[in-house]
Symmetry: C3
Subunit: 131 residues, 3 copies
């Protein structure tokens, strides 16, 4: 298992971690998969467009609209229930195919650490499985 | 493949299945992954905070608010479209890293069976892949 | 890695790809997993009920209600931010267990390519890992 350490800068943020993951791919991985796992409960991981940063902002804004921070319904006393809910909507792991030690992403795809309760020091767990 | 059998008690419920999964991990699994798969269309699986049960309640309440049970729009005659939609939002599988036969969860993370149309008898499929 | 080529017909569509995947399963796969990966940023993959097509329509309608196409908030100039957001909500990969070269789906489950910005030519990446 490999661990990537991150420092997020905002309360909500999509941080492109594609290069962090690329650096960790074993040189001898002909065919296999990469699992990206987020060991946090107020953050997740998602794959989406990296070319236009507006897309990332639109995703975060829409999630904030769907799950607003301040709701009288919430009972969790830490006050960050919205972040927990967004983590479950986005998910805590993604699996990507690997060939010749390269992630098989689509043309516009980047892998994003999805921070929902930052800024914080965060970790990403990675593993690679040979076919 | 291993199968865990569950009995949910409520219409909506997050049932902590971390211990059920822990019991199934092969003793000889040095490094690998665990795949948790839900073979149902009105339930899912999610990883989130286990310490404060309010978090689970806040997640379920928010999902009910986003996807209310009774909507004139729904065409599916069984009347449980909301449960199908929540299943697709939360997802039907999670992958967790394993080292020395231990799930590599974050400090606050637990694995939850997400019941959206209970109470019912349910199943969870598990498999473990060696690196 | 195997690639399935698709042609979607609508702006929003859940296209059943279960048979496309079944055809790709190696004959000698006793026990393992199948990873279905979508290399697009305005489409995803989800597992849900296949028997009644109303379920698929209800899922798409509800997603359109949660994330409407036209919003003054959106900044991405291509105008398809709603599709990007739905892709992140539904997810870009699923993992399914395989035994004796058969996908271990639940009774009512089918695997759907989730088109959110069609009609388009699309691809699905597949890989199979032996246990």
């Amino acid at each position: 298992m490999k661990v990537v350490h991150l420092k997020t800068k905002n309360r909500s943020e999509l941080l492109d971690i594609t290069q962090n993951i690329n650096k960790m791919i074993p040189k001898d991985l002909d065919v296999g998969i990469c699992i990206v796992y987020i060991p946090h409960t107020t953050a997740g991981v998602t794959i989406n467009e990296g070319a236009d940063p507006s897309v990332q902002q639109d995703i975060l804004n829409q999630l904030n609209q769907l799950v607003p921070w301040d709701q009288s319904l919430f009972r969790h006393l830490e006050g960050n229930s919205a972040a927990h809910i967004k983590a479950s909507l986005v998910g805590s792991s993604v699996t990507i195919l690997v060939e010749n030690s390269h992630l098989q992403l689509g043309t516009w795809q980047k892998i994003f650490f999805a921070e929902f309760d930052g800024p914080r020091h965060r970790k990403v767990f990675l593993t690679f499985i040979h076919k």
